[in-house]
């Protein structure tokens, strides 16, 4: 399809047709595929990392891998599943590069005197410190996630924050559902231990 064809044709085309066109070098079809799936990709990345730059790096790496690998895509799975699997792989690799930094932060924070803050968290009434309290809870959750292994963190955020079902997560991570359950179980136990004072 040339650039002159109406964008509407792409909008109504299903993924498989767009993939076939993109495999033949149609860059507009590829862009349409990106527009169709990139919000999910960015959302997974953004929940997994802690900075906008990291999320954008992951986004870019995912779609470059998709672009490079598109000709080898054989429709053995849904295109979206394939993209999400790449996203998970990129996130896990990205995480492994940053992990040391995250652990250092966690160790540095271990001696914080946070008893007073805990009391505030239990108070749901809000007030002038409400935003600060929310930020504190978010910060604690981030720190708690920092103790999880990359795969535990991935399963945990995909399930609790992105709402994916365990079967979908298993497809994305290319493993058995039982394995996903084990990751989730371990991750949940560790998160509860880390956050017991705030729950």
């Amino acid at each position: 399809m040339s650039r002159d064809n109406s964008q509407q044709a792409y909008l109504t085309m299903d993924d498989a047709d767009l993939v076939r066109k993109a495999q033949q070098g149609d860059i507009l079809a590829f862009e349409q595929l990106v527009f169709r799936h990139d919000k999910k990709v960015l959302s997974i990345a953004a929940r997994y990392v802690t900075s906008a730059d990291d999320a954008k790096d992951i986004y870019q790496e995912v779609f470059l891998r998709v672009f490079r690998g598109l000709k080898k895509f054989r429709f053995r799975s849904e295109f979206s599943t394939w993209v999400h699997r790449i996203t998970v792989n990129v996130c896990l690799t990205h995480r492994s590069r940053r992990r040391r930094t995250m652990q250092t932060v966690l160790l540095d924070d271990r001696n914080e005197d946070d008893g007073e803050a805990h009391g505030e968290i239990r108070d749901p009434a809000g007030g002038p410190d409400h935003l600060a309290v929310n930020a504190d809870i978010s910060s604690r959750i981030e720190r708690a996630l920092g103790v999880l292994s990359p795969k535990q963190r991935m399963v945990f955020t995909l399930r609790h924050c992105e709402g994916y079902r365990l079967g979908e997560i298993a497809q994305m991570m290319d493993c058995m559902e039982g394995t996903v359950k084990r990751y989730l179980f371990t991750a949940t136990r560790r998160m509860r231990d880390q956050l017991k004072d705030t729950l």
């Binding site: 960015l42 999320a55 959750i141």
Partner: protein
């Protein structure tokens, strides 16, 4: 089931994914086991905390637009890399090494590539500083030496005593002339699409827009459309859209504006696109079924309130006629 089995089931239940059978089993157990009841309440509290205080960063429209823009640049480089010789050559190394200054006395740095675009194919590459490149005297190389870059050795048979390589010869060129001059337009077109510096791309589009050239050649129009649709910088896209509005409205421009309305992540660009389409609505091209379809979609789904209202108004006007 063992107690540990129930605890695993609790985790699944607390995350909101348990089937009816599992729920029945669990409810019966929770009725008799206080420890598991407490555990379940704790797990539910954890889940609710996570829903209320999602970790990571918010994947909002701004982040999405930034990610898309950066990806477009990366994709452009990837495509360039693929189209280079066997993909050996780093596209970053292929990019023009020097910048292009426009609007006035411009010091232009391009290589043989630019020479091929700006001058007739029969003209030899300007490798000799000071040589006269144009009888009109509007184009001349500046007093600097030609630089050799991107030397790339090609394989030769082992027994051969010759070597073979390619390279880019980069010669700074100064150019002055009217915006109506096709050579000037070709350089501006090239700068508009290929310069890495967005400021230079913006100046190139502005130069065309400011002069108000109404009879652009096909190549310039195509370049403006490409800039409006693909440039990573919103300012360049907006300026290109403005330049296109000065051209005679035709089917090609209309389709490009529709694509911008559909795809551009910047609401300002989408607003400019729908306004341009509205202005041209009463012309010969009118509102066809494709345009109506897109407008209906925008009227329902666009994030921007103005665009939704405007789309509805254009549909209303168009269906009256």
């Amino acid at each position: 089931m063992t107690h540990d089995d129930y605890r695993e089931l609790l985790v699944i239940a607390a995350s909101g994914e348990i089937d009816a059978g599992g729920r029945d089993v669990l409810e019966r157990h929770l009725g008799t086991c206080e420890e598991c009841r407490n555990e379940y309440e704790g797990l539910r509290a954890l889940h609710e905390r996570l829903v209320a205080h999602r970790p990571g960063i918010e994947p909002d429209d701004r982040l999405l637009n930034e990610a898309r823009r950066e990806f477009r640049i990366a994709l452009r480089k990837e495509v360039a890399r693929r189209s280079s010789w066997f993909g050996w050559v780093d596209p970053a190394a292929l990019a023009p090494a020097s910048g292009l200054a426009l609007a006035g006395a411009c010091a232009v740095a391009f290589g043989i590539f630019l020479g091929r675009i700006a001058f007739p194919p029969s003209a030899p590459p300007a490798l000799s500083p000071g040589a006269s490149l144009s009888p009109a005297g509007g184009v001349r190389p500046v007093e600097e030496e030609t630089r050799i870059t991107n030397v790339h050795f090609l394989d030769r048979p082992a027994a051969s005593d010759e070597i073979e390589f390619t390279f880019d010869a980069v010669t700074p060129v100064r150019m002055r002339g009217s915006i109506e001059d096709p050579k000037i337009q070709k350089v501006l077109t090239h700068a508009m699409l290929n310069e890495e510096n967005p400021g230079v791309r913006l100046k190139a589009v502005s130069a065309i827009n400011r002069q108000g050239v109404e009879t652009q050649d096909v190549e310039t129009k195509a370049a403006l459309i490409k800039a409006m649709e693909n440039d990573s910088n919103a300012g360049v896209r907006k300026e290109a859209l403005g330049a296109l509005r000065r051209l005679p409205f035709d089917a090609e421009i209309k389709k490009a504006l529709l694509r911008t309305l559909v795809s551009d992540g910047n609401p300002g660009l989408r607003v400019a696109a729908i306004n341009a389409l509205d202005s041209a609505r009463t012309g010969a091209l009118g509102v066809d079924s494709d345009m109506l379809g897109i407008l209906r979609q925008k009227a329902e789904t666009d994030d921007n309130n103005y665009i939704r209202v405007k789309a509805r108004a254009v549909i209303q006007e168009a269906t009256k006629q």
